[in-house]
Amino acid sequence: MKYRSLPAAANGPAKDGRARLLLGHRSRSDLVRSPWWSLVLLVGFTFLGPEFLAGSRYFSTMVLAGVWGIAVVGLGMLSGYAGQISLGQAAIVGVGSYGSAIAVVRWGLPPIAGVGVGLLFTLVVALGSSPILRLRGLYFALGTLVLGLLIGDLLTNLSSWTGGSNGFVAIPAFSVAGYTFNDDSRAFVLVWAVLTVSVGVAANVNRSRVGRALMAIREDEDAARSLGVRVTRYKVGVWLFAAGLASIAGSLYAHVLQYISPGQFGLGQSVVLLAAVVLGGMSSRLGPVLAISFLMILPDLTQGTAITGTLASGVLLVVVMTVYPGGLGAIWEKLTGRLLGWQKAEEFDGA
Protein backbone atom coordinates (compact mmCIF):
# COMPACT_ATOMS: atom_id res chain seq x y z
CA MET A 1 0.00 0.00 0.00
CA LYS A 2 2.91 2.25 0.75
CA TYR A 3 3.68 3.07 -2.86
CA ARG A 4 0.30 4.66 -3.30
CA SER A 5 1.29 7.58 -1.12
CA LEU A 6 4.44 8.40 -3.05
CA PRO A 7 4.36 12.05 -3.98
CA ALA A 8 3.13 12.36 -7.51
CA ALA A 9 5.47 15.30 -8.00
CA ALA A 10 8.46 12.97 -7.84
CA ASN A 11 7.23 11.00 -10.83
CA GLY A 12 8.48 12.31 -14.12
CA PRO A 13 5.48 11.61 -16.32
CA ALA A 14 2.99 12.32 -13.54
CA LYS A 15 3.52 16.04 -13.53
CA ASP A 16 0.88 17.00 -15.99
CA GLY A 17 -2.74 16.62 -14.99
CA ARG A 18 -3.68 13.91 -17.43
CA ALA A 19 -0.84 11.66 -16.42
CA ARG A 20 -1.69 12.10 -12.77
CA LEU A 21 -5.25 11.19 -13.49
CA LEU A 22 -4.18 8.01 -15.19
CA LEU A 23 -1.78 7.35 -12.38
CA GLY A 24 -4.51 7.73 -9.82
CA HIS A 25 -6.64 5.43 -11.91
CA ARG A 26 -4.01 2.75 -11.99
CA SER A 27 -2.61 3.03 -8.48
CA ARG A 28 -6.04 2.15 -7.15
CA SER A 29 -6.09 -0.86 -9.44
CA ASP A 30 -7.84 -4.05 -8.46
CA LEU A 31 -4.49 -5.40 -7.45
CA VAL A 32 -4.57 -3.41 -4.24
CA ARG A 33 -8.15 -2.26 -3.85
CA SER A 34 -10.10 -4.16 -1.26
CA PRO A 35 -13.51 -5.36 -2.52
CA TRP A 36 -15.48 -4.63 0.65
CA TRP A 37 -17.30 -1.61 -0.74
CA SER A 38 -18.62 -3.54 -3.73
CA LEU A 39 -19.61 -6.37 -1.44
CA VAL A 40 -21.51 -4.10 0.96
CA LEU A 41 -23.51 -2.75 -1.97
CA LEU A 42 -24.22 -6.24 -3.24
CA VAL A 43 -25.28 -7.54 0.17
CA GLY A 44 -27.54 -4.52 0.53
CA PHE A 45 -29.10 -5.14 -2.86
CA THR A 46 -29.50 -8.85 -2.13
CA PHE A 47 -31.68 -8.20 0.91
CA LEU A 48 -33.35 -4.93 -0.08
CA GLY A 49 -33.85 -5.80 -3.76
CA PRO A 50 -37.07 -7.79 -3.19
CA GLU A 51 -38.54 -4.78 -1.30
CA PHE A 52 -37.86 -2.42 -4.21
CA LEU A 53 -38.82 -4.84 -6.92
CA ALA A 54 -41.98 -6.35 -5.38
CA GLY A 55 -44.77 -6.09 -7.95
CA SER A 56 -42.40 -4.73 -10.59
CA ARG A 57 -42.41 -6.26 -14.07
CA TYR A 58 -38.62 -6.49 -13.80
CA PHE A 59 -38.58 -8.67 -10.68
CA SER A 60 -38.16 -12.05 -12.37
CA THR A 61 -35.84 -10.48 -14.95
CA MET A 62 -33.57 -9.31 -12.13
CA VAL A 63 -33.54 -12.80 -10.62
CA LEU A 64 -32.33 -14.13 -13.97
CA ALA A 65 -29.87 -11.23 -14.25
CA GLY A 66 -28.37 -12.43 -10.96
CA VAL A 67 -28.10 -15.97 -12.32
CA TRP A 68 -26.35 -14.89 -15.51
CA GLY A 69 -24.28 -12.46 -13.40
CA ILE A 70 -22.60 -15.43 -11.70
CA ALA A 71 -21.51 -16.71 -15.12
CA VAL A 72 -20.39 -13.19 -16.06
CA VAL A 73 -18.13 -13.02 -12.98
CA GLY A 74 -16.42 -16.22 -14.15
CA LEU A 75 -16.15 -14.92 -17.71
CA GLY A 76 -14.70 -11.68 -16.36
CA MET A 77 -11.80 -13.64 -14.93
CA LEU A 78 -11.25 -15.71 -18.05
CA SER A 79 -11.74 -13.00 -20.67
CA GLY A 80 -11.22 -9.79 -18.69
CA TYR A 81 -8.32 -10.65 -16.42
CA ALA A 82 -6.61 -13.44 -18.30
CA GLY A 83 -7.56 -12.04 -21.72
CA GLN A 84 -8.85 -15.34 -23.14
CA ILE A 85 -11.97 -14.26 -25.01
CA SER A 86 -14.59 -16.99 -24.75
CA LEU A 87 -17.76 -17.31 -26.83
CA GLY A 88 -18.83 -20.52 -25.10
CA GLN A 89 -19.66 -19.43 -21.57
CA ALA A 90 -23.45 -19.80 -21.97
CA ALA A 91 -22.97 -23.35 -23.24
CA ILE A 92 -21.04 -24.21 -20.07
CA VAL A 93 -23.93 -22.75 -18.09
CA GLY A 94 -26.06 -25.20 -20.06
CA VAL A 95 -23.90 -28.14 -18.96
CA GLY A 96 -24.38 -27.22 -15.29
CA SER A 97 -28.07 -26.65 -15.86
CA TYR A 98 -28.61 -30.03 -17.50
CA GLY A 99 -26.50 -31.69 -14.81
CA SER A 100 -28.89 -30.35 -12.20
CA ALA A 101 -32.00 -31.21 -14.20
CA ILE A 102 -30.87 -34.75 -14.89
CA ALA A 103 -29.90 -35.31 -11.26
CA VAL A 104 -33.10 -33.85 -9.82
CA VAL A 105 -35.75 -34.84 -12.37
CA ARG A 106 -34.40 -38.14 -13.64
CA TRP A 107 -32.50 -39.44 -10.65
CA GLY A 108 -34.63 -37.85 -7.93
CA LEU A 109 -31.64 -36.34 -6.11
CA PRO A 110 -32.03 -33.21 -3.95
CA PRO A 111 -31.18 -29.89 -5.71
CA ILE A 112 -27.99 -29.39 -3.73
CA ALA A 113 -26.70 -32.74 -5.02
CA GLY A 114 -27.77 -31.58 -8.47
CA VAL A 115 -25.35 -28.66 -8.17
CA GLY A 116 -22.62 -31.21 -7.48
CA VAL A 117 -23.62 -33.33 -10.46
CA GLY A 118 -23.65 -30.20 -12.63
CA LEU A 119 -20.15 -29.31 -11.43
CA LEU A 120 -18.99 -32.84 -12.16
CA PHE A 121 -20.38 -32.75 -15.73
CA THR A 122 -18.81 -29.33 -16.18
CA LEU A 123 -15.45 -30.52 -14.88
CA VAL A 124 -15.46 -33.34 -17.45
CA VAL A 125 -16.39 -30.97 -20.28
CA ALA A 126 -13.94 -28.23 -19.19
CA LEU A 127 -11.02 -30.61 -18.71
CA GLY A 128 -11.85 -32.44 -21.93
CA SER A 129 -11.89 -29.21 -23.88
CA SER A 130 -8.87 -27.63 -22.17
CA PRO A 131 -6.51 -28.34 -25.12
CA ILE A 132 -8.16 -25.38 -26.89
CA LEU A 133 -6.28 -23.20 -24.37
CA ARG A 134 -3.23 -23.74 -26.55
CA LEU A 135 -4.87 -21.54 -29.16
CA ARG A 136 -4.12 -17.85 -28.90
CA GLY A 137 -6.29 -14.80 -29.40
CA LEU A 138 -8.91 -15.04 -32.11
CA TYR A 139 -8.26 -18.75 -32.59
CA PHE A 140 -9.10 -19.42 -28.97
CA ALA A 141 -12.32 -17.43 -29.34
CA LEU A 142 -13.18 -19.54 -32.39
CA GLY A 143 -12.38 -22.70 -30.44
CA THR A 144 -14.79 -21.73 -27.67
CA LEU A 145 -17.42 -20.83 -30.25
CA VAL A 146 -17.15 -24.32 -31.74
CA LEU A 147 -17.21 -25.85 -28.26
CA GLY A 148 -20.44 -23.98 -27.57
CA LEU A 149 -22.05 -25.19 -30.79
CA LEU A 150 -20.90 -28.72 -30.01
CA ILE A 151 -22.42 -28.64 -26.53
CA GLY A 152 -25.64 -27.28 -28.01
CA ASP A 153 -25.80 -30.20 -30.45
CA LEU A 154 -25.08 -32.71 -27.70
CA LEU A 155 -27.82 -31.28 -25.48
CA THR A 156 -30.25 -31.69 -28.37
CA ASN A 157 -29.09 -35.05 -29.66
CA LEU A 158 -28.51 -37.00 -26.45
CA SER A 159 -32.26 -36.90 -26.11
CA SER A 160 -32.70 -39.97 -23.93
CA TRP A 161 -30.78 -38.04 -21.25
CA THR A 162 -31.62 -34.46 -22.04
CA GLY A 163 -35.12 -34.59 -23.46
CA GLY A 164 -33.92 -33.38 -26.86
CA SER A 165 -34.99 -29.98 -28.09
CA ASN A 166 -37.86 -29.89 -25.57
CA GLY A 167 -35.43 -30.15 -22.67
CA PHE A 168 -36.86 -30.36 -19.19
CA VAL A 169 -40.08 -28.88 -17.87
CA ALA A 170 -41.38 -28.76 -14.31
CA ILE A 171 -38.01 -28.74 -12.60
CA PRO A 172 -38.76 -28.16 -8.90
CA ALA A 173 -37.73 -24.94 -7.18
CA PHE A 174 -34.43 -24.96 -5.33
CA SER A 175 -34.67 -26.28 -1.81
CA VAL A 176 -32.20 -27.03 0.89
CA ALA A 177 -32.76 -28.50 4.37
CA GLY A 178 -36.53 -28.31 3.99
CA TYR A 179 -36.58 -24.64 2.94
CA THR A 180 -37.89 -24.02 -0.58
CA PHE A 181 -37.03 -20.97 -2.65
CA ASN A 182 -40.35 -21.06 -4.42
CA ASP A 183 -41.18 -17.40 -5.05
CA ASP A 184 -39.40 -14.46 -6.68
CA SER A 185 -38.30 -12.91 -3.37
CA ARG A 186 -36.70 -16.07 -2.05
CA ALA A 187 -35.14 -16.92 -5.39
CA PHE A 188 -33.80 -13.38 -5.64
CA VAL A 189 -32.08 -13.56 -2.26
CA LEU A 190 -30.61 -16.98 -3.03
CA VAL A 191 -29.31 -15.99 -6.45
CA TRP A 192 -27.91 -12.60 -5.48
CA ALA A 193 -26.29 -14.04 -2.35
CA VAL A 194 -24.48 -16.58 -4.51
CA LEU A 195 -23.54 -13.77 -6.92
CA THR A 196 -22.15 -11.70 -4.04
CA VAL A 197 -20.00 -14.60 -2.87
CA SER A 198 -18.81 -15.12 -6.47
CA VAL A 199 -17.81 -11.47 -6.78
CA GLY A 200 -15.92 -11.68 -3.48
CA VAL A 201 -14.12 -14.88 -4.43
CA ALA A 202 -13.20 -13.55 -7.88
CA ALA A 203 -11.95 -10.30 -6.34
CA ASN A 204 -9.79 -12.29 -3.91
CA VAL A 205 -8.22 -14.29 -6.72
CA ASN A 206 -7.71 -11.20 -8.85
CA ARG A 207 -5.87 -9.23 -6.17
CA SER A 208 -3.42 -12.03 -5.41
CA ARG A 209 -0.31 -13.42 -7.00
CA VAL A 210 -2.64 -15.52 -9.14
CA GLY A 211 -4.54 -12.50 -10.49
CA ARG A 212 -1.32 -10.72 -11.27
CA ALA A 213 -0.07 -13.78 -13.15
CA LEU A 214 -3.34 -13.89 -15.13
CA MET A 215 -2.96 -10.26 -16.13
CA ALA A 216 0.65 -10.88 -17.09
CA ILE A 217 -0.51 -13.72 -19.35
CA ARG A 218 -3.05 -11.38 -20.94
CA GLU A 219 -0.45 -8.69 -21.63
CA ASP A 220 2.57 -10.72 -22.73
CA GLU A 221 2.57 -14.48 -22.49
CA ASP A 222 6.25 -14.96 -23.29
CA ALA A 223 7.42 -12.30 -20.86
CA ALA A 224 5.28 -13.99 -18.19
CA ARG A 225 6.93 -17.34 -18.98
CA SER A 226 10.38 -15.82 -18.68
CA LEU A 227 9.49 -14.85 -15.10
CA GLY A 228 8.46 -18.37 -14.13
CA VAL A 229 4.69 -18.01 -14.55
CA ARG A 230 3.41 -21.45 -15.51
CA VAL A 231 1.17 -20.17 -18.25
CA THR A 232 -0.55 -23.42 -19.19
CA ARG A 233 -1.36 -24.22 -15.60
CA TYR A 234 -2.85 -20.79 -14.92
CA LYS A 235 -4.87 -20.88 -18.12
CA VAL A 236 -6.34 -24.26 -17.18
CA GLY A 237 -6.97 -22.95 -13.67
CA VAL A 238 -8.89 -19.88 -14.78
CA TRP A 239 -10.73 -21.94 -17.41
CA LEU A 240 -11.95 -24.33 -14.69
CA PHE A 241 -12.76 -21.45 -12.35
CA ALA A 242 -14.88 -19.70 -14.96
CA ALA A 243 -16.55 -22.99 -15.87
CA GLY A 244 -17.30 -23.72 -12.21
CA LEU A 245 -19.09 -20.41 -11.75
CA ALA A 246 -20.96 -21.00 -15.03
CA SER A 247 -22.04 -24.40 -13.79
CA ILE A 248 -23.39 -23.04 -10.49
CA ALA A 249 -25.23 -20.36 -12.46
CA GLY A 250 -26.67 -23.12 -14.65
CA SER A 251 -27.95 -25.13 -11.68
CA LEU A 252 -29.66 -22.06 -10.24
CA TYR A 253 -31.07 -21.24 -13.67
CA ALA A 254 -32.73 -24.65 -13.92
CA HIS A 255 -34.41 -24.22 -10.53
CA VAL A 256 -35.36 -20.58 -10.99
CA LEU A 257 -36.89 -20.83 -14.45
CA GLN A 258 -37.99 -24.45 -13.89
CA TYR A 259 -37.71 -25.32 -17.57
CA ILE A 260 -34.63 -25.57 -19.75
CA SER A 261 -33.95 -26.30 -23.40
CA PRO A 262 -30.79 -26.16 -25.54
CA GLY A 263 -31.80 -22.86 -27.18
CA GLN A 264 -31.40 -20.96 -23.91
CA PHE A 265 -27.65 -21.62 -23.88
CA GLY A 266 -26.79 -20.73 -27.45
CA LEU A 267 -24.22 -18.47 -29.07
CA GLY A 268 -26.49 -15.43 -28.71
CA GLN A 269 -26.49 -15.75 -24.93
CA SER A 270 -22.70 -16.26 -24.90
CA VAL A 271 -22.37 -12.99 -26.79
CA VAL A 272 -24.61 -11.25 -24.25
CA LEU A 273 -22.41 -12.52 -21.41
CA LEU A 274 -19.26 -11.32 -23.16
CA ALA A 275 -20.98 -8.00 -23.86
CA ALA A 276 -21.62 -7.63 -20.13
CA VAL A 277 -17.91 -8.11 -19.41
CA VAL A 278 -16.92 -5.57 -22.05
CA LEU A 279 -19.62 -3.02 -21.18
CA GLY A 280 -18.96 -3.37 -17.47
CA GLY A 281 -15.22 -2.98 -17.84
CA MET A 282 -12.79 -5.82 -18.30
CA SER A 283 -11.45 -5.59 -14.77
CA SER A 284 -14.25 -3.94 -12.83
CA ARG A 285 -16.19 -5.65 -10.06
CA LEU A 286 -19.65 -4.12 -10.09
CA GLY A 287 -19.53 -2.97 -13.72
CA PRO A 288 -20.26 -6.36 -15.28
CA VAL A 289 -23.06 -7.01 -12.76
CA LEU A 290 -24.70 -3.71 -13.66
CA ALA A 291 -24.15 -4.40 -17.35
CA ILE A 292 -25.75 -7.86 -17.32
CA SER A 293 -28.71 -6.46 -15.37
CA PHE A 294 -29.13 -3.77 -17.99
CA LEU A 295 -28.74 -6.20 -20.89
CA MET A 296 -31.36 -8.48 -19.37
CA ILE A 297 -33.83 -5.66 -18.87
CA LEU A 298 -33.16 -4.20 -22.34
CA PRO A 299 -35.56 -6.48 -24.25
CA ASP A 300 -38.34 -5.44 -21.82
CA LEU A 301 -37.55 -1.77 -22.36
CA THR A 302 -37.57 -1.94 -26.13
CA GLN A 303 -40.65 -4.13 -26.35
CA GLY A 304 -43.18 -2.91 -28.92
CA THR A 305 -40.60 -0.91 -30.86
CA ALA A 306 -38.66 -1.94 -33.94
CA ILE A 307 -35.50 -2.17 -31.83
CA THR A 308 -34.96 -5.68 -30.55
CA GLY A 309 -32.92 -6.34 -27.43
CA THR A 310 -30.21 -8.05 -29.45
CA LEU A 311 -29.95 -5.11 -31.84
CA ALA A 312 -29.76 -2.60 -29.00
CA SER A 313 -27.11 -4.55 -27.09
CA GLY A 314 -25.12 -5.05 -30.28
CA VAL A 315 -25.12 -1.33 -31.06
CA LEU A 316 -24.25 -0.54 -27.45
CA LEU A 317 -21.35 -2.97 -27.54
CA VAL A 318 -19.88 -1.44 -30.69
CA VAL A 319 -20.30 2.11 -29.39
CA VAL A 320 -18.69 1.35 -26.03
CA MET A 321 -15.80 -0.52 -27.61
CA THR A 322 -15.04 2.35 -29.98
CA VAL A 323 -15.68 5.31 -27.71
CA TYR A 324 -14.85 3.98 -24.27
CA PRO A 325 -13.05 0.65 -24.31
CA GLY A 326 -12.70 0.59 -20.52
CA GLY A 327 -16.48 0.30 -20.10
CA LEU A 328 -18.46 1.30 -17.02
CA GLY A 329 -15.62 0.40 -14.68
CA ALA A 330 -13.24 2.86 -16.33
CA ILE A 331 -15.84 5.63 -16.40
CA TRP A 332 -16.39 5.14 -12.69
CA GLU A 333 -12.67 5.05 -11.93
CA LYS A 334 -12.14 8.14 -14.01
CA LEU A 335 -14.82 10.00 -12.07
CA THR A 336 -13.51 8.97 -8.66
CA GLY A 337 -9.94 9.29 -9.90
CA ARG A 338 -10.59 12.92 -10.76
CA LEU A 339 -11.98 13.62 -7.30
CA LEU A 340 -9.17 11.79 -5.54
CA GLY A 341 -6.63 13.35 -7.89
CA TRP A 342 -7.66 16.77 -6.67
CA GLN A 343 -7.54 15.64 -3.08
CA LYS A 344 -4.09 14.24 -3.64
CA ALA A 345 -2.82 17.44 -5.20
CA GLU A 346 -4.00 19.39 -2.18
CA GLU A 347 -2.32 16.96 0.18
CA PHE A 348 0.98 17.42 -1.57
CA ASP A 349 0.68 21.17 -1.68
CA GLY A 350 0.05 21.15 2.04
CA ALA A 351 2.88 18.73 2.79
Binding site: N204, V205, S208, R212, A216, L227
Partner: protein, 251 residues
Protein backbone atom coordinates in the same frame (compact mmCIF):
# COMPACT_ATOMS: atom_id res chain seq x y z
CA UNK B 1 28.65 -21.95 -13.33
CA UNK B 2 26.95 -21.51 -16.67
CA UNK B 3 28.33 -24.10 -19.04
CA UNK B 4 27.56 -24.02 -22.71
CA UNK B 5 28.60 -27.10 -24.63
CA UNK B 6 28.58 -27.32 -28.41
CA UNK B 7 25.27 -25.52 -28.56
CA UNK B 8 23.84 -25.25 -32.08
CA UNK B 9 20.65 -24.00 -33.65
CA UNK B 10 19.81 -24.44 -37.31
CA UNK B 11 16.95 -22.62 -38.96
CA UNK B 12 16.49 -24.52 -42.21
CA UNK B 13 19.94 -24.57 -43.75
CA UNK B 14 21.21 -21.64 -41.72
CA UNK B 15 23.31 -22.25 -38.61
CA UNK B 16 22.29 -19.30 -36.44
CA UNK B 17 24.35 -20.68 -33.58
CA UNK B 18 27.10 -23.09 -34.59
CA UNK B 19 28.75 -25.32 -31.93
CA UNK B 20 29.19 -22.61 -29.35
CA UNK B 21 30.98 -23.49 -26.10
CA UNK B 22 32.00 -21.29 -23.23
CA UNK B 23 31.70 -20.96 -19.47
CA UNK B 24 30.62 -18.17 -17.18
CA UNK B 25 31.84 -18.37 -13.62
CA UNK B 26 29.48 -17.30 -10.81
CA UNK B 27 29.58 -13.64 -9.82
CA UNK B 28 31.15 -12.52 -13.07
CA UNK B 29 29.80 -10.17 -15.67
CA UNK B 30 30.41 -11.52 -19.15
CA UNK B 31 29.78 -9.48 -22.26
CA UNK B 32 28.57 -11.13 -25.44
CA UNK B 33 29.26 -8.97 -28.45
CA UNK B 34 29.25 -9.33 -32.18
CA UNK B 35 27.82 -7.73 -35.28
CA UNK B 36 24.13 -7.96 -36.23
CA UNK B 37 23.07 -11.49 -37.08
CA UNK B 38 25.93 -13.03 -35.14
CA UNK B 39 23.48 -15.27 -33.25
CA UNK B 40 23.63 -13.56 -29.85
CA UNK B 41 19.90 -13.37 -29.24
CA UNK B 42 19.39 -16.88 -30.58
CA UNK B 43 21.96 -18.06 -28.05
CA UNK B 44 20.06 -16.38 -25.21
CA UNK B 45 16.81 -17.93 -26.48
CA UNK B 46 18.49 -21.34 -26.48
CA UNK B 47 19.72 -20.95 -22.92
CA UNK B 48 16.37 -19.69 -21.61
CA UNK B 49 14.12 -22.27 -23.29
CA UNK B 50 12.58 -20.06 -25.96
CA UNK B 51 14.28 -22.10 -28.69
CA UNK B 52 15.06 -25.82 -28.69
CA UNK B 53 18.69 -26.48 -29.55
CA UNK B 54 19.52 -28.54 -32.64
CA UNK B 55 22.50 -29.94 -30.74
CA UNK B 56 24.46 -29.41 -27.57
CA UNK B 57 23.28 -28.10 -24.24
CA UNK B 58 23.51 -25.40 -21.62
CA UNK B 59 23.66 -26.09 -17.88
CA UNK B 60 23.52 -23.82 -14.83
CA UNK B 61 24.98 -25.16 -11.58
CA UNK B 62 24.91 -28.63 -13.12
CA UNK B 63 21.22 -28.44 -14.10
CA UNK B 64 20.29 -28.60 -17.74
CA UNK B 65 18.55 -25.49 -19.04
CA UNK B 66 18.40 -25.95 -22.80
CA UNK B 67 15.36 -27.81 -24.12
CA UNK B 68 13.32 -27.01 -21.00
CA UNK B 69 10.34 -24.72 -21.06
CA UNK B 70 11.04 -21.06 -20.23
CA UNK B 71 9.09 -21.20 -16.96
CA UNK B 72 11.30 -24.12 -15.83
CA UNK B 73 14.43 -22.19 -16.72
CA UNK B 74 13.17 -19.28 -14.63
CA UNK B 75 12.48 -21.66 -11.75
CA UNK B 76 16.13 -22.75 -11.93
CA UNK B 77 17.11 -19.19 -10.97
CA UNK B 78 17.80 -17.85 -14.44
CA UNK B 79 16.27 -14.51 -15.43
CA UNK B 80 16.34 -12.70 -18.73
CA UNK B 81 15.28 -9.52 -20.47
CA UNK B 82 14.29 -9.08 -24.09
CA UNK B 83 15.50 -6.71 -26.78
CA UNK B 84 12.34 -4.70 -26.17
CA UNK B 85 11.44 -4.10 -22.54
CA UNK B 86 8.15 -6.04 -22.91
CA UNK B 87 6.66 -4.81 -19.67
CA UNK B 88 2.98 -5.53 -19.01
CA UNK B 89 1.68 -2.17 -20.23
CA UNK B 90 -1.48 -1.90 -18.10
CA UNK B 91 0.25 -2.88 -14.87
CA UNK B 92 2.13 -0.39 -12.71
CA UNK B 93 5.90 -0.65 -12.53
CA UNK B 94 5.59 -2.20 -9.07
CA UNK B 95 3.05 -4.79 -10.24
CA UNK B 96 5.31 -5.60 -13.18
CA UNK B 97 8.21 -6.27 -10.85
CA UNK B 98 5.90 -8.20 -8.49
CA UNK B 99 5.18 -10.57 -11.39
CA UNK B 100 8.95 -10.87 -11.57
CA UNK B 101 8.89 -12.01 -7.92
CA UNK B 102 6.15 -14.55 -8.76
CA UNK B 103 8.34 -17.54 -7.92
CA UNK B 104 8.82 -16.34 -4.34
CA UNK B 105 5.10 -16.96 -3.68
CA UNK B 106 3.29 -20.22 -3.02
CA UNK B 107 -0.44 -19.50 -3.03
CA UNK B 108 -2.67 -20.84 -5.79
CA UNK B 109 -6.30 -20.47 -6.92
CA UNK B 110 -7.80 -22.14 -3.86
CA UNK B 111 -5.95 -20.23 -1.18
CA UNK B 112 -6.30 -16.98 -3.13
CA UNK B 113 -10.08 -17.44 -3.46
CA UNK B 114 -10.40 -17.78 0.33
CA UNK B 115 -7.67 -15.21 1.00
CA UNK B 116 -5.94 -17.53 3.45
CA UNK B 117 -3.18 -16.04 5.62
CA UNK B 118 -0.54 -17.35 3.25
CA UNK B 119 -1.92 -15.11 0.50
CA UNK B 120 -1.32 -11.99 2.57
CA UNK B 121 2.10 -13.34 3.45
CA UNK B 122 2.87 -13.87 -0.23
CA UNK B 123 1.70 -10.36 -1.09
CA UNK B 124 3.97 -8.82 1.54
CA UNK B 125 6.88 -10.93 0.44
CA UNK B 126 6.42 -10.20 -3.26
CA UNK B 127 5.92 -6.49 -2.62
CA UNK B 128 9.06 -6.29 -0.49
CA UNK B 129 11.13 -8.15 -3.07
CA UNK B 130 9.79 -5.95 -5.86
CA UNK B 131 10.41 -2.75 -3.91
CA UNK B 132 13.96 -3.83 -3.21
CA UNK B 133 14.59 -4.71 -6.82
CA UNK B 134 13.19 -1.37 -8.00
CA UNK B 135 15.37 0.42 -5.45
CA UNK B 136 18.45 -1.45 -6.72
CA UNK B 137 17.89 0.16 -10.10
CA UNK B 138 16.89 3.58 -8.73
CA UNK B 139 13.32 3.17 -9.95
CA UNK B 140 11.42 3.44 -6.66
CA UNK B 141 9.85 6.72 -7.73
CA UNK B 142 8.28 4.97 -10.73
CA UNK B 143 6.48 2.32 -8.64
CA UNK B 144 2.92 3.44 -9.19
CA UNK B 145 3.28 4.58 -12.79
CA UNK B 146 1.59 2.34 -15.39
CA UNK B 147 4.29 0.75 -17.53
CA UNK B 148 2.86 2.18 -20.74
CA UNK B 149 3.57 5.72 -19.51
CA UNK B 150 7.27 5.11 -18.78
CA UNK B 151 9.95 6.37 -21.15
CA UNK B 152 11.88 3.78 -23.14
CA UNK B 153 14.83 4.11 -20.78
CA UNK B 154 12.68 3.75 -17.68
CA UNK B 155 10.96 0.71 -19.19
CA UNK B 156 14.34 -0.95 -19.71
CA UNK B 157 15.40 -0.38 -16.12
CA UNK B 158 12.08 -1.67 -14.76
CA UNK B 159 12.40 -4.72 -17.04
CA UNK B 160 15.81 -5.45 -15.51
CA UNK B 161 14.37 -5.00 -12.00
CA UNK B 162 11.58 -7.40 -12.99
CA UNK B 163 14.04 -10.03 -14.23
CA UNK B 164 16.00 -9.80 -10.96
CA UNK B 165 13.08 -9.68 -8.50
CA UNK B 166 12.63 -13.44 -8.32
CA UNK B 167 16.11 -13.69 -6.82
CA UNK B 168 17.66 -14.87 -10.05
CA UNK B 169 21.23 -16.04 -9.65
CA UNK B 170 21.99 -15.70 -13.34
CA UNK B 171 20.54 -13.05 -15.58
CA UNK B 172 20.82 -12.68 -19.34
CA UNK B 173 20.37 -9.12 -20.52
CA UNK B 174 19.63 -8.56 -24.20
CA UNK B 175 20.87 -5.06 -25.10
CA UNK B 176 20.06 -3.45 -21.73
CA UNK B 177 21.58 -0.10 -22.70
CA UNK B 178 19.62 0.40 -25.90
CA UNK B 179 17.49 3.50 -25.44
CA UNK B 180 19.42 4.74 -22.42
CA UNK B 181 21.35 7.98 -22.54
CA UNK B 182 25.05 8.15 -21.58
CA UNK B 183 24.36 9.07 -17.99
CA UNK B 184 21.75 6.30 -17.54
CA UNK B 185 24.12 3.82 -19.18
CA UNK B 186 26.84 4.71 -16.67
CA UNK B 187 24.47 4.33 -13.73
CA UNK B 188 23.24 0.98 -15.05
CA UNK B 189 26.81 -0.29 -15.39
CA UNK B 190 27.57 0.73 -11.81
CA UNK B 191 24.34 -0.88 -10.56
CA UNK B 192 25.06 -4.17 -12.31
CA UNK B 193 28.59 -4.13 -10.90
CA UNK B 194 27.39 -3.68 -7.35
CA UNK B 195 24.67 -6.35 -7.75
CA UNK B 196 27.24 -8.80 -9.06
CA UNK B 197 29.31 -8.16 -5.95
CA UNK B 198 26.54 -7.88 -3.37
CA UNK B 199 24.28 -10.75 -4.49
CA UNK B 200 26.89 -12.82 -6.32
CA UNK B 201 24.77 -12.25 -9.37
CA UNK B 202 26.10 -13.72 -12.58
CA UNK B 203 25.39 -11.60 -15.64
CA UNK B 204 25.59 -12.31 -19.34
CA UNK B 205 25.14 -9.05 -21.26
CA UNK B 206 24.49 -8.88 -24.96
CA UNK B 207 25.37 -5.49 -26.28
CA UNK B 208 26.05 -3.63 -29.48
CA UNK B 209 27.46 -0.73 -27.58
CA UNK B 210 31.16 -1.72 -27.37
CA UNK B 211 32.18 0.94 -24.88
CA UNK B 212 29.51 -0.14 -22.39
CA UNK B 213 30.39 -3.83 -22.60
CA UNK B 214 34.14 -3.39 -22.50
CA UNK B 215 33.96 -1.17 -19.42
CA UNK B 216 31.43 -3.34 -17.61
CA UNK B 217 32.55 -6.90 -18.28
CA UNK B 218 35.06 -9.11 -16.55
CA UNK B 219 35.26 -11.21 -19.68
CA UNK B 220 34.06 -10.79 -23.21
CA UNK B 221 32.87 -13.37 -25.72
CA UNK B 222 32.79 -12.28 -29.35
CA UNK B 223 30.46 -13.97 -31.83
CA UNK B 224 30.27 -13.66 -35.56
CA UNK B 225 28.12 -15.67 -37.95
CA UNK B 226 27.04 -18.09 -35.25
CA UNK B 227 30.52 -18.89 -33.99
CA UNK B 228 32.75 -17.65 -31.23
CA UNK B 229 35.69 -15.81 -32.77
CA UNK B 230 37.37 -14.55 -29.60
CA UNK B 231 37.15 -14.68 -25.81
CA UNK B 232 39.14 -12.96 -23.11
CA UNK B 233 39.55 -9.88 -20.96
CA UNK B 234 38.13 -6.67 -22.47
CA UNK B 235 41.59 -5.26 -23.18
CA UNK B 236 42.71 -8.35 -25.05
CA UNK B 237 39.54 -8.51 -27.09
CA UNK B 238 39.75 -4.83 -28.00
CA UNK B 239 43.12 -5.44 -29.71
CA UNK B 240 42.26 -8.80 -31.28
CA UNK B 241 42.69 -8.52 -35.06
CA UNK B 242 39.88 -11.01 -35.84
CA UNK B 243 37.50 -8.95 -33.71
CA UNK B 244 38.50 -5.74 -35.44
CA UNK B 245 38.05 -7.45 -38.80
CA UNK B 246 34.59 -8.72 -37.88
CA UNK B 247 33.51 -5.24 -36.88
CA UNK B 248 34.96 -3.44 -39.87
CA UNK B 249 32.44 -2.95 -42.62
CA UNK B 250 29.64 -3.80 -40.22
CA UNK B 251 29.92 -0.99 -37.75
Amino acid sequence: MLEINDLSKHFGGLAAVDSVSFEVRPGLIVGLIGPNGAGKTTLVNLITGFHRPSAGMATWRGRRLSGRRPERVAAAGVGRTFQQARLFPELSALDNVMVGAHLLGRSGFGSAALRLPRVRHDERRLRAAAARSLADLHCTHLSSVPARLLTTGQQRLVAIARALAGQSELVLLDEPAAGLNDRETEVLAADLRSLATRDELTVLVIEHHLGFVLSLSDEVVVMSEGRIIATGAPDQVRKDPTVIAAYIGVD
